[in-house]
Symmetry: C2
Subunit: 661 residues, 2 copies
Amino acid sequence: MNRKRPVCDQLLQERAKATFQTLELTYLLDGDEEKTKRRKELEKLFHDDPQFQDEIPTVYLSHEEAYENALSKTLKIYQKALDLSDPREILTVADAILHDATPVHVHFVMFVPALMGHANEEQQAKWLPDALTMRIIGSYAQTELGHGTFIRGLETTATYDETTQEFVLETPKLSSIKWWPGSLGKTANHAVVMAKLWTKGECYGIHPFMVQLRDLNTHQPLPGINVGEIGPKMGLRSADNGFLKLDKVRIPRDNMLMKNAQVTPDGTYIKPRSDKLNYGTMVFVRVLLLDMLAFNISRAVTIATRYSAIRRQSEIVAGAGETQILDYQAQRYKLFPLIGLCHVLRGMFTILMEMYKQANTDLERGVLDTLPELHAISSGLKALCSDQASKGIEVCRLACGGHGFMLISGLPRLYATTVAACTYEGENTVLYLQTSRFLLKCLTGQHKLGQHSQLKFLLNPVASPVQPFNKQLYGLEGASHLVQYYAAAAHRELYFVEAKLKRLQAEGLTSDNAWNSSQVDLCRASHACIQYYLAKNYVEWVAQNKISPELRTVLAQICQLYLLQGIYENLGRFLQVGLKTEDITSMSDLITRLLDDIRPNAVPLVDSFDLHDMVLSSALGAYDGQVYERMYECALQSPLNKKQVVDAYGKYLEPLFKSQL
Amino acid sequence: MNRKRPVCDQLLQERAKATFQTLELTYLLDGDEEKTKRRKELEKLFHDDPQFQDEIPTVYLSHEEAYENALSKTLKIYQKALDLSDPREILTVADAILHDATPVHVHFVMFVPALMGHANEEQQAKWLPDALTMRIIGSYAQTELGHGTFIRGLETTATYDETTQEFVLETPKLSSIKWWPGSLGKTANHAVVMAKLWTKGECYGIHPFMVQLRDLNTHQPLPGINVGEIGPKMGLRSADNGFLKLDKVRIPRDNMLMKNAQVTPDGTYIKPRSDKLNYGTMVFVRVLLLDMLAFNISRAVTIATRYSAIRRQSEIVAGAGETQILDYQAQRYKLFPLIGLCHVLRGMFTILMEMYKQANTDLERGVLDTLPELHAISSGLKALCSDQASKGIEVCRLACGGHGFMLISGLPRLYATTVAACTYEGENTVLYLQTSRFLLKCLTGQHKLGQHSQLKFLLNPVASPVQPFNKQLYGLEGASHLVQYYAAAAHRELYFVEAKLKRLQAEGLTSDNAWNSSQVDLCRASHACIQYYLAKNYVEWVAQNKISPELRTVLAQICQLYLLQGIYENLGRFLQVGLKTEDITSMSDLITRLLDDIRPNAVPLVDSFDLHDMVLSSALGAYDGQVYERMYECALQSPLNKKQVVDAYGKYLEPLFKSQL
């Protein structure tokens, strides 16, 4: 699929239209020139290596083949990358090559960090070296068949038996079976199992335990352990998500990870000093997710934009010849704001990573109010951004018409991988509700906003009046002008639901029931607050980056369009806070203008993401634009085309055709 | 997956809460009691027949296996159903059993109808008997690699050679290759090929030609024919969508289907009398699509609602025990309006089918204004309903949390099958634009609305004033009260874009360019008009059906909720036409009340769709509610679990683990 071909004329022409230097934007999106260079080196190391080239598109592989292919490549990647310093780099490359979570993703992202975070020094010395060199591969078994987001509901037990100084692990019911952990099905020989700790007849809640799952010589499951794969999913085929049934499995006392809580040999439970650290890990994972979402939506919008420059269909002016579909306004309105989504996600990721580091520094200095706020915001951002990114990818896919339905477009897999993030790492609705709970507690003073919080305006019961909509403002000024509407809408939605909660309680509902009866509006409130947060930081990111005026002009157009679409598609929220019905006409015209102005830079803008063809893995989106050639070549490799006359003919069709001769 | 199990207590309790007779609703949704009985007979005939039971879930099959399985079952179904009178019945059963388009779907839905519609008597006598008994299986080859919705752009040519009295068929370029036709890849031995007719140096546009593709004895492609399958897609795995390259393929003159247009032996072209008939077929297909959409969304909402009654997660009142997730307001708000979507789609299908029959009668009587209007409305309805249904299915899938991501939930396949309808049979954006073009032409008098048209109020340049929002109105009265807002919004959006078109033309744009620069608002306008159309007909359907008061109460609650959500999620549109900011509070409270009132009937409402477990094919949604048992059993059958230690261990993991011992 990645064979070198000449670039087609249409894309050459598109690229000639750029009003900015694509490389400058690439540096900005990567972080800086150094980071781009480093990425290119890795690409050279991996993407051009023949052992990572697939003979046929990986989407054509069966479930088993896909797993095996991914495992084989992953191990080669790690072998080749032993001298690379940053494991995140390796993961990024591996994910990009595999287009999927690798079968050892959880090992490096959850098992090893769990050891670092929960194992004491002695335990780390025992397991960590083997884990880092993959002599043991571990999973992280928390979610159960009957329990996900609500951790306290987990049912697996670890009961201390002081006579043998062992823990007895047990999944007492069908619904307690561990379900979903990546790598658990077929790859891992160890797992950190989260279970309810019982000792001396008391339950102390969920704690981590190291459990060896498989014999190190034969890879067969150990006695009492029933382990397997949970079956194929909509996406993430290469990760062998698994199940684990534990039938009175005994592990030594010191297999409980004891950096924090401990159980002494006589069964005495010793409480952990603090649980703030877990909090931090959850935030960190959500920050990383923004990066993944930015990566995925940039892949989708690159594919759809390039394809839309190639594809010609119908005519704008009758008889004037068929039009590149990128010239239809409806198509531009679908795609260009999504370029903005990539930018805001990338910018937000950088900002949040800084905040995360700051919050950790604060924590060490005893400043405790940064992390809860960051946690609330990162929860809401995870929900809003995974919603927007997955919906955006589906918009890209549908914008490619029927061809986007084919696996070789690369888009169905991107959608599946991305939409998975709406339910994992905290289900989105639950996260929206968490964020609004935090914000409402800020209003009543139960939580305190940090010194530099961007949400302090919410504490003022009276919203600041908005300035009238000014249709003359364009670009950065125009984008900046729109942020006030987002702020006012956030304020209104939050106080709207606060009033509803009070009203329901005044009518006699308990606060719990009032809360449940307001969930729809609570989700809307946190959505509005997070949307504001995103808008504000987006505009600042565009304004404050050190870039050329040419580039800033283009970025500001995209930013203004993104913010305008956010209003135009949700007018109700903004008509309530000072936007006038008459302004809608001006907005419509401004959108029309921006869609025209951005058009010449459309392909250069997606080129700036600088995504290698192997990373795109799409017959529609390659750099050379040879769409139809690639589609035809891929079709010839389809499994059904291995034989001209398929076996089903002899079995079913031939008897039918000939019986009636 | 469909083994009989006892019904779980939770669903027994849910079913005991019903305030109406589920069977009465089943009759209504099927059409009448007779139709329900007939459906049950067919179910007995097919669903209980062991030859249609799968040993493992079909989602676990490879692409080849899935095709072979579907082909085998389809042929058995047709054999068993030879005595059934209505082929649509057979197709419905087949689709329900296969959860996919069958490999002979296109044969019966397009190839045979094409023969009936385009072949003259002689030609029908020659091909139709063989087609009906499947001695020949045909495809319908229209779409090309480079052209879809824009028919005039098709590039395949059929050039008449009067010296041999043959047509020479040719796909001159890569982009002209026929691409997508169902059954074309491996199953069909014939195709109706749509090609540009050339004779005596003149081009007469697209016409249908009968082309034999494969040898009837060997099934090998005939000379000049390059045919194959296009490769796996996001869904519809069993349909062997194909490609077809024609290299100077000669066919006799009388293989041109000549019921309408003709070419005489000397190459003279004779025009068809009329092209209205093609128009009718397109409408018919779009009407049938509503039925399919209703079927698919009803499957998804049944699965998600039953699962939500089983699944317990977290607590509403701290310490009071875990809650059925169906008791969370946010979950109800996701699912209950989708029950309404099923109802309105089912009702709309019945109404539109009547209108279609009426339009045909009108046509025969020389009344010509019914069909164009029906065509415009059915285009818009197809777009709006396929959008709503596919998004609704995805809402159901995500409402099941991570488990909805597993193929055995049945939901990923339902989503893929349904979202395909957003791009096939006319891409949705193109259809929205077609509908608005028709409506705008009505405003200027270029089209005439039919005598009984429901859209006549649009012709009045001044909208009727809306009555103030009355929060006291509940149920049917409440739903009826909301329709006026939908009407006013439709009116406003249409005149909004008309004003925009005039403004742009006044600024100097040509009408073509003004049109293109208004596409965003044009889509919004037809969306609003069709949303009104749906709302109005939904309320009438609830009001006019002959049903018990108990049932009408429940249907009216669902209808009011559906219409309220339509407003609540799109407030901007309605705040512009008389809805007040203060009304939003009342709406929120009314939604809260309805979500509570509908709750006891949630499971009975989805039970009324009366979907056989085989039709649902979901581990989460079966009638007995034994969710976790089924999930665990299915997981054990996963392809990766055939061996406890997979081959990849010996190949890749063992060397890794042991090399470092």
